[in-house]
């Protein structure tokens, strides 16, 4: 039974990856947009690296962590949109008449999103290294960054999947993007929390889980191995995955019952 489930997941993951590869916009935009923003912000805010207490020598080193988070946000959108399209076109209903297990659809779709997210993360990292960033935590640190990126994609992809399964609408999934975008901008993405001057903004950034995810990746790039920051980032990432995946599984169950 388990091997059957594995085969189903593999097929559906392959379908998800092929689907993304066949839509250049779904592939190019998540690759190009974070890199363009990184280039613009790193150049425009380079003088911020001269603020006393700034943790990195250049703003580029500091900012490289952000694209991994942006990539995860795009994964959320892509995973959600694909599932919503499967619902809107009736694919999910037809699938429910076959022996394919419902959970295979969710896992397969998310595995595809994680695979695409991993490829994106490799590109972000390579671009950063070519632009002159040094990962202070070394090769093992770079590998851990990729693991974090894949886990972010899984967590936020599950959130997109939950939204799609709950509403069955691509437009509703699109509505998630501004919320995720706000979470990114109201975090410590642009400055370290201790250098944020406005108290209210520092409080929001401190309460925003996205800050800790970015800080975990950033610590590997700018300061090497920082067990506390990494453990906190990992715990929050796993928490998001557990919550979002649980919610998506419940939503899938409800939808299949309705179907």
């Amino acid at each position: 039974m388990n091997s059957k489930l594995g085969t189903q997941v593999a097929h559906l993951a392959g379908r998800s990856v092929m689907r993304t590869l066949r839509q250049p916009a779904a592939l190019i935009f998540p690759l190009a947009f974070p890199m363009i923003l990184l280039a613009v912000n790193a150049a425009g805010l380079d003088s911020a690296a001269s603020i006393p207490g700034f943790p990195a020598d250049s703003y580029l080193d500091f900012a490289l962590a952000v694209p991994f988070m942006q990539g995860a946000l795009f994964s959320a959108m892509n995973a959600g949109q694909d599932i919503a399209r499967d619902i809107e076109t009736g694919f999910l209903s037809r699938l429910s008449l076959t022996p394919v297990r419902g959970i295979a659809l969710l896992t397969g779709q998310l595995a595809g999103a994680v695979a695409v997210g991993a490829a994106q993360a490799v590109v972000y990292l390579l671009v950063g290294l070519i632009a002159g960033v040094t990962v202070q935590a070394g090769i093992a640190g770079a590998l851990l960054i990729l693991v974090f990126a894949m886990l972010f994609c899984l967590g936020f992809g599950s959130l997109g999947a939950f939204m799609a399964l709950r509403t069955g609408s691509g437009e509703a999934v699109q509505g998630l993007f501004p919320l995720l975008f706000v979470l990114l901008f109201l975090s410590s993405a642009f400055l370290p929390r201790d250098l944020i001057e406005a108290d209210w903004f520092r409080t929001i950034a401190g309460a925003n889980p996205v800050s800790y995810l970015i800080e975990a990746v950033r610590s590997l790039i700018v300061s090497g191995w920082d067990p506390e920051t990494l453990a906190l980032g990992m715990a929050i990432t796993l928490g998001i995955i557990a919550l979002a995946l649980g919610a998506a599984s419940l939503a899938l169950q409800t939808r299949l019952e309705r179907t």
């Binding site: 150049a43 425009g44 380079d46 003088s47 400055l191």
Partner: protein, 259 residues
């Protein structure tokens, strides 16, 4: 009916319809109001420490510095969203019926531009009120602020005419990234976070050549009460409106020819 009154009647009809659609549909209205406020919050709140960078000298403070960028960005994006609505009108078949019915078709372009400029007045008012409530210091006189408002309207008109030209050529929602991305890049390749003198490297060269820089720097000089580069800014704004006006009218001819 004279040619002028036919033109005016078409322009006013289009503008009214566009604004009516906007103000009766929260899904269209809210993002265009909330996004600028969110950018103001994220940039002015999260990055205020950047004003402590050596050489940063802006008497009205960082909130006012970012307010001008957000105002011009909101004006430009009002134009971008109007471009989207033209593309949507083509997809729904309304624009083709409009081309058949309008006695003076150049009034269509004028109507969309008028709608976007009216939209800028609303968004600009909301952003200004929020910035003032957040403690923005205004050093400029009433005349200076009027100058800033004119720059915002010119930005809105230029972006709308750009979007109109693209939408009339592509005639589907696939035009959306083509409308949005160049505007986004032009705005972010201006001195968003620090004055142009503090930029270094490639972004300094790009920002110096970017017409948005002239608008932004003049706008900031207006709010701080020390107008500077005003002729260059208005010259650039009027030139952009003229060039994109021709672009939009040629797009209209293409749409007419396509039937």
């Amino acid at each position: 009916m004279s040619a002028l009154s036919r033109f005016r009647s078409v322009a006013l009809g289009i503008a009214w319809r566009n604004l009516h659609n906007l103000y009766t549909n929260p899904a269209l209205l809210l993002p265009s109001l909330l996004f600028p406020l969110f950018f103001l919050t994220a940039f002015a709140g999260g990055l205020s420490r950047v004003s402590g960078v050596p050489g940063f000298d802006f008497p009205s403070g960082y909130t006012a510095f970012q307010y001008v960028f957000v105002l011009l960005q909101a004006s430009a994006f009002g134009g971008v969203f109007t471009g989207f609505s033209i593309a949507r009108d083509f997809e729904g078949g309304f624009a083709r019926r409009l081309l058949l019915a309008a006695p003076r078709r150049s009034g269509i372009v004028a109507g969309y531009t008028l709608a976007a400029m009216t939209r800028t007045v609303l968004t600009g008012t909301v952003v200004t009120v929020v910035a003032l409530l957040a403690g923005m210091q205004v050093g400029g006189s009433g005349i200076d602020l009027f100058g800033l408002a004119l720059l915002a309207l010119l930005t809105s008109a230029a972006a709308t005419l750009w979007g109109t030209g693209v939408a009339m050529r592509v005639r589907s929602m696939q035009a959306a990234p083509m409308i949005q991305i160049p505007v986004f890049l032009t705005l972010f390749l201006a001195p968003v976070y620090v004055p142009v003198d503090l930029l270094a490297g490639w972004i300094s060269t790009v920002a110096t050549l970017n017409p948005a820089t002239a608008l932004l720097e003049a706008g900031r000089s207006f709010i701080s009460g020390a107008p500077e580069g005003v002729l260059l800014a208005f010259g650039s704004g009027i030139a952009l409106v003229a060039v994109f006006g021709l672009w939009a009218l040629r797009g209209l001819r293409r749409a007419e020819a396509a039937g």
